[in-house]
């Protein structure tokens, strides 16, 4: 059985030292592969938006409004004669950029706070946890709405509003993970190896919880994209004429009955993107946990 163990173990090295291990495990899950492919496509579309978009997404052409698909306008035009396909493609870029900003800001707040709280323990931990409790007791979405509503409606303010409320649950999860790692024997060993506090936090705790944080982030992007679309839909985020999917939904709500495709296209785009990120996130989670 020793051979069994050593051979089985050889195939599943620590992911830092052999990324084949983790990629292999993702590749065996069909759903995750599907998610990964779609996400990769969306990212490529977003990056090459200026190249692959057939037309200028902002160009208004009233003579061509509400036309069907053609070789020039791949998905037709909207109520202002703008190319829907181009707007969708640019929308991918917008959604990804905004959601990455929110995610980045959220993690930048929650990771240090969670790590500090989990590692330090004692009064610092109690103080931070009570603060988090306050944030958690407020309805996050409404809070974000309120903040965005108080400030001038713009993308920047929306990002700030969302991040300033959504960091709390993550800080708590990260704190929990840090506390769990702190219990383990190798923490004592790190102390015995004369590590400073910051070495312990960065070299040991953070490195061990990084995979879980990445999984959480990937799973969260879907929700963030939805939230951004929702904010833009009610006019508190991206403003028209920005080619953002939520804005597109908002613009076309008057035409819901007569020109349903104007809502369906951005709706489906959001749905596919969110689903793809969720599938990828689940796949990562399964790969890391096994």
């Amino acid at each position: 059985m020793m051979q069994v163990k050593t051979q089985a173990i050889k195939r599943s090295n620590a992911w830092f030292h052999s990324s084949d291990g983790i990629i292999n495990r993702i590749l065996t899950q069909k759903a995750a592969v599907f998610g990964f492919v779609i996400v990769a496509l969306i990212i490529i579309i977003a990056i090459t938006a200026s190249v692959i978009a057939p037309n200028d997404p902002l160009k208004v052409n009233m003579s061509m409004r509400l036309k069907g698909p053609s070789s020039l306008y791949w998905l037709g035009t909207d109520n202002l004669g703008r190319c829907i396909a181009s707007r969708l493609i640019w929308g991918a870029r917008m959604s990804l950029i905004y959601s990455m900003c929110v995610l980045g800001l959220m993690m930048a707040i929650s990771i240090p706070i969670g790590l500090l709280s989990g590692y330090a323990g004692g009064r610092i931990d109690t103080f931070i946890m009570r603060t988090i409790d306050i944030f958690l007791s407020l309805p996050t979405f409404l809070m974000a709405l309120a903040i965005a509503g108080m400030l001038e409606p713009s993308v920047k303010n929306m990002i700030i509003a969302m991040a300033s409320v959504w960091w709390a649950p993550y800080a708590r999860i990260i704190r929990g993970m840090a506390m769990q790692i702190k219990q383990q024997d190798f923490m004592l060993a790190a102390k015995a190896a004369a590590c400073t506090h910051s070495q312990i936090i960065f070299r040991h705790i953070l490195r061990n919880i990084a995979p879980s944080i990445i999984v959480m982030a990937t799973l969260e992007i879907g929700s963030i994209i939805l939230a951004i679309a929702s904010f833009s839909f009610i006019g508190l985020g991206a403003q028209p004429p920005t080619p953002e999917w939520g804005v597109m939904l908002s613009d076309s709500k008057e035409f819901m009955q007569t020109q349903p495709q104007l809502m369906i296209y951005p709706g489906v785009a959001i749905m596919i993107t969110v689903m793809a990120f969720n599938l990828l996130g689940e796949g990562l989670k399964n790969a890391i946990q096994n």
Binding site: M1, M2, V4, K5, Q7, R11
Partner: protein, 274 residues
């Protein structure tokens, strides 16, 4: 439902109080690149009222044998040959629907880490009663009485109080006794103990070994004791099988093994004793 044994007139199965007779057992783990032979052509006999020790290092496959006898081996572990006669019947050729009931009526098993083996969310009483009710269709109160008596039989005082406790409230030694109580509640002819005292202190180990010894004297249970500790073997075993890399390299009575070991590996093991 009683499964009718295949009436073979092979002497060894029926006579000499043989409770467990493993013949030529081979087991492989199916792995993506190649199969690992965990157990190769293993022969082992456990007799009524005797303690048979299966000794080997980690990785020798001894625990795999125990799991195979109980029918709870890994999903990717495939038995590629041999027979396991448990109380006269080959369980490897028994239809699946009778297998579980047959094995649980004729064999019990206790594992290494007693606290992990018990369900942390149920009290000791609940777990014991559950084990009893699976075997016999009796009322809960009757099961409770049996449970109390069983706890006394494994030398646990104040069984009434103990039944209400959760596993985390008990020490390792007490948990192991509860495990023995659960495994032997209906006096199965075979009890498999997979490294039962490795995780326990030396004074508790002595008590548990004494408990196993008195069980076999009192009930005639055949005990298959799996261990890597030759001290435990010297203390209570009657017969010893030395296992290495899936093979039995030597077997005999405990005196044979300790006083006239034949195989180099056996001699190495004896020399490595502290």
């Amino acid at each position: 439902m009683q499964y009718k044994t295949d009436q073979r007139d092979d002497q060894a199965i029926q006579s000499e109080n043989v409770v467990l007779d493993i013949r030529g057992l081979s087991l492989e783990y199916i792995m993506p690149d190649q199969n690992i032979h965990a157990v190769v052509d293993l022969n082992l006999v456990a007799r009524m009222g005797k303690i048979t020790a299966l000794v080997g290092e980690s990785g020798s496959g001894k625990s795999t044998v125990a799991l195979a006898v109980m029918g709870i081996q890994d999903k990717n572990a495939v038995i590629s040959g041999g027979e396991i006669y448990l109380a006269g019947t080959d369980i490897l050729s028994m239809p699946k629907k009778y297998l579980r009931a047959y094995i649980s009526n004729h064999a019990g098993i206790i594992f290494q880490d007693p606290i992990d083996s018990l369900n942390p969310l149920l009290t000791v009483g609940e777990q014991l009663v559950e084990a009893i009710l699976i075997h016999k269709k009796i009322t809960k109160n009757q099961a409770r009485t049996i449970a109390l008596n069983q706890l006394l039989a494994v030398s646990l005082t104040q069984p009434g109080e103990l039944m209400k406790k959760y596993p985390f409230m008990l020490s390792g030694g007490m948990c192991q006794r509860v495990m023995i109580a659960i495994a032997s509640v209906f006096r199965p002819p075979l009890l498999i103990a997979d490294e039962p005292t490795t995780a326990l202190d030396v004074t508790i180990q002595a008590q548990i070994l004494h408990q196993l010894d008195s069980m076999r004297k009192r009930d005639g249970t055949a005990i298959l004791l799996i261990t890597h500790d030759l001290g435990v073997v010297a203390e209570i075993a009657d017969n010893v099988c030395i296992m290495k890399d899936g093979h039995i390299v030597e077997s005999g009575t405990v005196d044979d093994i300790f006083y006239s070991p034949q195989h180099t590996y056996t001699r190495q093991l004896l020399a490595a004793a502290l």
